[in-house]
Each structure stands twice: as structure tokens, then as C-alpha cells.
Amino acid sequence: MDNAGSLMPLFYVLIFPGFAFLVAFGLLVDFFDRKVVARLQNRQGPPWYQPLADMIKLLGKEDIVTDHADRGIVNAIPLFGLAAVAAAFLYVPLWNAAWPFSFTGDIIVIVYLLTIPAFVLVLLGWYSPNPFGSLGTGRVITQLFGYEVPFTLALLTPAIVAQSWRLTDLLTYQATHFWFILTTPIAFYVAVVALVGKLERIPFDIPHAETEIVEGPMTEYTGRKLALLKMMFQTEMVVGSALIAVIFLGGPHLPGVTIPIASPLIGGLIGFIITVVKTLLIVFVLSVIKALFSRLRIEQMVSWCLNWLAIPILVQVLIVVVIASR
């Protein structure tokens, strides 16, 4: 019993809800995204196993490091990014407020860990001898200034309302009050749009604009390392979507569905399914945005973000602070 208890954290971190589940969910979300975009564009879309097949193909390919590239950095960076995203996922409460990894300030830790993939891309481009890599790096940094501050503020606005830096407290607040999508709608909008920038999806896919700079920082990457980078983006999409689902859509809480407290297993399962569905809902919104727009130029993107993300979120924070201080 004691032995099993000491193994539980390992199970949490490696299997469920940790790394293995995250990767599987990432593949599912990737399939869902591709299928929805395909159907919106009047196409059939891939079969359900396509993301897995792509991943296996990449893992089986020859592992090449270009000349003049720093071998150690090139090998370490993709792992570093994936590890950061996987660590962030542990702090997102998926089924109820009694989350094993919850602590005061976890929302800040998640925001911090979700910034690391951008810096991973910066380092990739910086240590790559390819001019497309350097160009992409410059764009990653420029774009970072557009979305990062609004994203952080958008996630922190509900925390100001709930007077807590703890995600599980936000869940209990939403269960007893309204969901934050109703009380802070501007913050929700800013969070979703900034997440598009964070994931570098259309219309903010400027750092790896395929028609201009091949794959940007990832140009020289192939095989295992590219698989890890793709996995990093997939899992980042899962973490970002789940985070928004938890912070703004109430996570496992659904009005009218009472989770039985007597059996934590069934209650947890119901809450888990509700959270997954809400996460897929956010992914659906991201897919519609992807199908709806075309790529902006970098200076359009930054000025748009300053006008339509930074200013609205400042107004939102001001409203929240004024109401909270009364």
C-alpha cells in the first residue's frame, strides 16, 4: 500500500494525466483540428490515425544535424520545449477542484511555462545556419511582443475577480458564481486570439510562413527532432485550449449536472469528459479562425494586437479592478 502510494505521483506525471495522456490527447486534438478545417473547406479531411501515422513516419526518418549547427543545442532544444509544455499540463485541473498538483500561484507558473515554446523557436533559429531560421527568429520575437502581454493579462483578469492565483479556486468560484466567459467576455476573446498567436496558427503564422520562409526556425529540422517539435505544438494547443476551458468555461462544472461527491471516480470521470468537450470546443473555435483568415504581415499583426488586444484587455482589467475595489 505504501509502495503503491509512493508510485502514484510517478503514474500521474508519466501516464495519466501526465505525459502519455497529453501526447494521445495532442494527437486527437490535431486530428480534430485538421478534420474540422478540412470540412470547413469542403474537403474530406484525414482519417483518425493520420496524426499518429505522421508522427511514426517522422520518428522513423534519418536524424540529420546540419553542418555549422551547435549539435548539443539542436538536440536538446526540442526536448526542452516539449518538457515545458508537459509540465504546464500537470497544473491544469481536468476533473475537479481537488487537483493533486494545485498550489497558490500555479496560474503564473503555467503562463511562464507556456512562454518557453516561443523561446525554443528563438533558440532553434538562432543556432541554425539557415537564413530562413534567423528571419523566423526575428519574427517570433516581434510577434511575442504582440500577444504575450495581452495573453497574460487575459488569464490573470479572472484571477483578480476571484481574488486568487490558484486555478482550483477559479473553478470553485465559477461553480458558485457565473462562468468567467460571462463576467469577463473581453478577457476571453483576448485569450483566444492571443492563443492563436502563441500557437503560431493562421492568421498569425508569420514566423514560419511557408510561402515566404519555408518553415522559419524549423527549416533545418527533420526526423525525431521535428517530431518532437510538432508534438510540442500539438500539446501546446491542448494545454492552451484546456487552460482557457478551465479558466473561462468553468472546467468540469456544467449547470444542471451535479457531480456525485459520494463516488469520486464517477464524479471525476464526468468532470473529465466535460472538460475534454469544452477543450475541443475551444479547438473548434481555433479551427474556424484558421479556416476563416489568411496570413497577416508582421507589422500588421503587431499593430493589430496593440490596438485590438492590448487596449481592450487594459479596459477589461480596469473595469474589473474598479468593480472589485467598490
Binding site: A38, Q41, Q44, V288
Partner: protein
């Protein structure tokens, strides 16, 4: 801008539950158009070796060459066969358009890929072509009779 986004969004969402325009290719296949130019077929019996296709081909695909066994016809002239270097072909259809006897035509077969370019082939057929779905059946027979009449 908001209006155009709204129009676009409505268009996109209307596709979500409509039947997709594409099919799952190896399992389901779309029918190519009626005049699709796919595999090249040369009919040895209809052909009168007039050399028109060889002269008209813009890519030097076709050529009439004498048979290797040195066979001759009843007038003592060497028999010739049409040969094609198919990796040069651009499927422009000039050869079949110019042919006075409809002896060269394109089939509606589009899966022509091969392992190497020398394996790309022109296919040959003999005799009157069997009644195809197009109107070629009656046309083929009439040209056959014309052919015999000239001889």
C-alpha cells in the same frame, strides 16, 4: 471588414454539414471528364502509316520505325510500326486530332505512374475498337469501310 468576415463565416459553416467535394481516393474514385486525355492507344489495323501524327507531335514523342525482323508488305516496302517515348508526352492530343483514321486515341485512364520513365508505354490494340461508351463505335466502323474502299 466585420461584414465580409460574417459573410465568409456563414459560407464556411454551411460547408460543415454538406457533402464534401473530395472523395477518399484509393477507396472511391471520381469519374474523369468525357474527353479526358489519359493513356495513349494506337490501333495497328486502323493505322495507314501516313506519318501525320509523327509530324504533328510537338514533343517528338512518336516515330515510325521499320520492324527489326525486316518484314515487308506485298509491295516489297518495309513494314513500319509506331513507337512512342512516352515520358516526353504532354498529352496535348494533337496526334489523335490529326489522325485521318482515328487510329490513335486517348483512354480515360489516369493512373499512369511507373517506377521509371522507360516503363511509360503507349498501348497498342488490333482490329476494330470494341464499342466504347463514346460515339466511337459507328465512327470506327465507317472509317474501317473507308479504309478498305481506298485499298
Amino acid at each position: 471588414m466585420a461584414r465580409s468576415v460574417g459573410v465568409m463565416l456563414r459560407e464556411l459553416l454551411s460547408h460543415l454539414f454538406a457533402k464534401p467535394a473530395t472523395v477518399l481516393y484509393p477507396l472511391q474514385r471520381l469519374e474523369p471528364p468525357e474527353r479526358f486525355r489519359g493513356r495513349l492507344i494506337w490501333n495497328t489495323d486502323l493505322c495507314i502509316r501516313c506519318n501525320m501524327c509523327v509530324r504533328d507531335c510537338p514533343c517528338d514523342v512518336l516515330d515510325l520505325v521499320e520492324r527489326e525482323d525486316g518484314a515487308v508488305d506485298d509491295k516489297g516496302k518495309p513494314l513500319k510500326d509506331l513507337v512512342a517515348i512516352m515520358d516526353r508526352c504532354i498529352f496535348c492530343g494533337q496526334c489523335s486530332w490529326v489522325c485521318p483514321k482515328d487510329a490513335i486515341r486517348f483512354e480515360r485512364v489516369y493512373e499512369l505512374a511507373q517506377g521509371d520513365r522507360t516503363s511509360l508505354k503507349m498501348y497498342t490494340e488490333h482490329g476494330t475498337p470494341e464499342p466504347a461508351p463514346q460515339q466511337t463505335a459507328s465512327a470506327g466502323e465507317s472509317s474501317e469501310t473507308e479504309n478498305s474502299g481506298e485499298q
